[in-house]
Amino acid sequence: MLYFLINPTTLLYITAISATFFIGLVLFTVRYGIKYKRLLDEKNSYLIAFQKLYTIMASTVTLEETAQKLTNAIAFELGFQAGVLTIIDKQSNSLKRIAVSQTPEGIIGLKMFPVPYKSIGIPLTYTGNLLIRAINEKKPFITHNMIDLFVPVLPEVIISNIQKVMKIKTSFVYPIFYHNEVIGAMIFSISGEEHEIPDLQREAIMRIMEVVGTVIERVKVYEKLALTSQSLAIANEKLKELDKIKDDFVSIASHELRTPMTAIRSYAWMALNRSDIPLSAKLKKYLERTLISTERLIHLVNDMLNVSRIESGRIQISPEVFDLQSLIQDVVSEVELKAGEKSISLKVNYTNLPKVFADLEKIHQVLLNLIGNALKFTPKNGNIVLSLMSDGMFIQTTVADNGVGISKDDISKLFQKFGRLDYSYTAAAATGGTGLGLYICKKLIESMGGKIWSTSEGMGKGSQFHFTLPIASKQVINQASVNQTLREDGMMPLEPTAI
């Protein structure tokens, strides 16, 4: 249905405005018939009433409020002593009174009931009640005995007394329609005889009932929608909370894991480097492997923590304007020693390029990761070349090596979580890879508005890793400051990773 495509508030407004207009029109017609002599005066008060109805309806949000205002408007405008609105409650299978007009008679009567008026529910199966008959037979009824409207719930002696005090002689009962279905009934009471309300007006009231039905149903839909969105909001809050609990758990668990891992790492290192007896080749190998594995485990814990934060959207990205080339120079000098150990040449091709707008620390980690990978998968005496180029919007960085290369099938797996490739497992195991590094790189680069991918001619033919970052233009910086203000609390930094 089209209604559900519209925002509930808009829906209510549209309904309220159209209903108000229609009620106003009908009310005007009715009044015109009853009191044609005072037409000019009435026209003015009708306009005021119209204005009033419009503001009332447009601001109404709950069923009870709507019912009260509808009942008041009709009773006052049509000059009834009292009006009552009842609605079918499917849950209790009864007819519930939900509003009484705040006319003087309505107020007097309301005070006299021995039970709360709105608690009075007439069983839908009780056909002795005139309201139920009006609903079942889908037509209006007239009575001079108010008890007809209260059986079997309240005793006659009480009701006839109330009727006397309220000075009610005649009550009209009208079913409320919504799409040919009856959803409730209204009572209008007057102190005179039924002929005071001519047929023409009674016909008009039937039409008012259709409008009342429409307004009531729409408000019900609105209430349901409001309830649904409220429970969705609560569910969402709960999920966020759970997410935070999960992240806190991962944080604490990681910290707890790192303490014993530090002890293993430290003692293994001591056994290897500060032993008071000479180590056999075998023992040395065992200890070296213990040390490498522990380091790998520590990196894995850090990376898992990072993945957990990235996936819950809680990694803090603080972009700034910086020179990518000087960052690359810093990273290269950091890894030169390691490259030297394998006699790998590490070159950077410089060109004059504009600055980028990204999170420097995170790019530092991405570069360390990519260069670290290149070092791992490039044999001795190999070459690693870093180059940069610009297309005016982005700067593309490429880390190229002439190492083991990647098969076509494997290229798509590279940036997945634990997307380790079969052939490289041995190398990764020996060098302490976690299987999460490139996944983290991808998430980080994407969070800064860039892209990351890799190319390779195939196995044994080297590989190239490329990533792009936005050039620090005014537009990019402005957009980032907008996003920054939209960011939620609870952001976490990245755990350090090592190559």
């Binding site: 303490t259 480097n273 930094p493």
Partner: protein, 131 residues
């Protein structure tokens, strides 16, 4: 100049505490240890350490509380640099430690023992107010 430097090791994990003690003693330092926050705070308040290795997550009183107390109430006998030695590798915590007067910060799990020694020697060398 060549007096033996005295280092306080605040660490609640027994293996790590004993490890750092052995590492530093072998290196020729004089060491003392504290295994929880209150013990650490009372030792630090007496003053006279050339360097303090301070863990953050500690029973009874955590490292940040100790740093705050020292900032508000510096000991009459001064200490050398306080180097936070922890496994919480988060920027916010690191920044807080520096704000509260720590001189350095080391993430335990990220360093091998030789790197720990290099760091400690650097902190001792650059210490402005040795005790």
């Amino acid at each position: 100049m060549d007096t033996v430097k005295k280092i306080l090791i605040v660490e609640d994990d027994q293996f790590l505490r004993e490890f750092y003690q052995e590492l530093l003693t072998t290196e020729g330092f004089l060491t003392e240890t504290a295994q929880e926050g209150e013990e650490a705070a009372s030792k630090i308040k007496k003053g006279g350490y050339d360097l303090i290795l301070l863990d953050i997550m500690l029973p009874k009183k955590d490292g940040l509380q100790i740093l705050e107390e020292l900032k508000n109430n510096p000991p009459s006998t001064p200490n050398g640099p306080i180097v936070v030695l922890t496994n919480i590798g988060q920027d916010a915590t690191i920044q807080k430690c520096f704000d509260l007067g720590a001189t350095g910060y080391m993430v335990k799990s990220a360093l091998n023992p030789d790197q720990v020694l290099v760091e400690i020697n650097n902190y001792l060398k650059t210490a402005k107010n040795p005790a």
